[in-house]
Amino acid sequence: MNRHPPSIYEIMVSVISRELHDDELWFLGLSTGPQTILLLTRLPIVAMALAQKTHAPNSWMLVAGWIMNPDVSKVPTGMESEFGTSLGNWPAEAFNNSHCMSYVAARHEIDVGFGSAAQVDKYGNCNTVAIGDYRRPRVRLIGPVNQPGHFSLFGREIIIMPHEKRNFVDRVDFISGAGYLEGPGCREQLGLHRGGPCMILTDKAVFRFDENTRLARLESIHPGITEAEVLAETGFKHDYIPHTPVVTPSPSEEDLALIRESIDPSGVLLPRATG
């Protein structure tokens, strides 16, 4: 075999896929803007398909909450919208034509969600509402959408964001997705006995949350990226980033073959490596 090396997107897909377990229910929601659609919609779809084809045959994929276990290789659009006439013809195991599908969320049945934000802080709190003062914000954002439930009702949330200094802040200006709030014990105090963010995945690195301090901890840096590059773009305090990150594992040859040949054969979902 003489393949192109994995692209950054394929590495990210592989990270997500490993975070998904068998017998789980995964939920994908709406994204705004082309970059978010790539990171937060296309990457998770490929990753969910990869997990199902490898280690998670009994998992269940809710795309936009209504397309269930679609044949990802036959995706009819680039998922620029959650809905659309052609998406209704996507070969799938089930469709749900009503908002009743939200019942699985309200009943705490969803294991994993995918989220993004304009700001994430060191405790994994997310903000899609407003930068600056809520009443007179410097930047008004899209609104909470489904983010509150992702962080309060789901089993865990994978945060996927472009790694830019302005997005990684010490304290978000508005909490639309409750991470670990102000630290250990805060979620539990509010009755949030499960859930919360499990990972921040960026185009440069992977963070997880320390079980004791609840602080984001740099776990691995993607191949080809230096630690200095990561730290330069990480806005929250460096104290919280132990200097022992490893290199993010690349997808196996088998996984790469599945992604490129079975899951996304025509490159609709993942930008293709050139060369």
Binding site: G33, F83, G84, T85, N97, H99, I142, V145
Partner: protein
């Protein structure tokens, strides 16, 4: 003596005059699908002011009304353009403190309509716990489960005075037909019609009453609940009417780009709304070839 029921088919202009200044309205559709845009343009032309919009996932339907200065208050979960990014007028108006906001998580915003449809005044939820939404929204109240499971947020029913949706077809009596394989935007619209006693439906096509009787399972807004029905082909443009035509991505990208400035937005508003007197003129402005290519052939009946 078989008597004929009342005919509810009226003009777009007459339908829009039903909405008084200061009304509390819901505009159907979700994200980039099925918004009653022809009706929105007509509301703007008529200058209907001081509107409260009760919504869930809105796009330029609400962005245009805000930008044109018609909205006092917005109850919502999202205003944005999906792949085309944020909603420029909404953003500008909020940053300048021009409209009152009451925001909710998305399923809660949906549920508010289901709650009105079920005749309930409020419902309990825990999904916004931990967020700052209850801090900034005084309409998210506290309640205890009388069965002992602890504290909840109480959220009020949506209670729109008027619901305006865009649907595939209807007859002149106000029976409205939907497709069998509906998606969330269509289902939310049906629920929304059940949340109010005053319903205006713009439809792609008025069909014979006999067609309704052939498809009674798809008559999901029966005429006894419809206030008025309006024929507005391509009435959701530049958004899709699911199964009938796609969203006009070029147009939406153009809107997202020009509306970033007040001047750009004003130019858009002048060109596509104020300089146009009728919906037919709007369609001519968009052009036959463009509309022809947005169509989806092979619908679902």
């Amino acid at each position: 003596m078989n008597q004929e029921p009342a005919i509810k088919l009226i003009s777009l202009r007459d339908a829009a005059t039903l909405i008084s200044n200061g009304s509390r309205i819901h505009l159907g559709g979700m994200a980039v699908h099925n918004h009653p845009m022809a009706f929105v343009y007509e509301l703007i032309r008529q200058g209907t002011t001081n509107l409260t919009i009760v919504s869930h996932v809105s796009a330029s339907d609400v962005d245009l009304l805000i930008g044109a200065g018609h909205v006092n208050r917005l109850e919502f979960s999202y205003v944005g353009l999906e792949e085309f990014g944020t909603a420029p007028c909404f953003r500008r108006a909020v940053e300048e403190g021009q409209i009152e906001l009451a925001e909710y998580s998305e399923p809660v915003a949906f549920e508010r309509f289901a709650c009105s449809a079920r005749g309930m005044p409020f419902f309990p939820t825990r999904e916004m716990i931990g967020t700052d939404l209850p801090r900034v929204n005084p309409d998210i109240k506290q309640i205890s489960d009388p069965f002992g499971s602890g504290d909840y947020h109480a959220v009020s029913a949506a209670e729109p005075e008027w619901v305006i949706i865009h649907a595939p077809a209807g007859d002149k009596y106000g029976n409205i037909l939907f497709f069998p394989n509906r998606q969330l935007p269509e289902d939310l619209d049906i629920t929304a019609t059940r949340s109010s006693a005053n319903i205006i439906v713009t439809v792609e096509q008025i069909v014979a009453h006999e067609r309704v009787k052939q498809l009674p399972y798809l008559n999901l807004v029966p005429r006894f609940r419809t206030t008025a029905v309006v024929e507005a082909p391509f009435g959701a443009h530049p958004y899709s009417c699911l199964h009938v035509y796609d969203q006009d991505r070029e147009h939406l990208a153009h809107y997202a780009a020009v509306a970033r400035t007040v001047e750009g937005f004003s130019g858009y508003l002048e060109h596509y709304v104020h300089a146009v007197e009728t919906h037919d003129q709007y369609l001519e402005l968009i052009g036959a070839a463009r509309l022809a290519r947005l169509r989806q052939i092979g619908g679902a009946w």
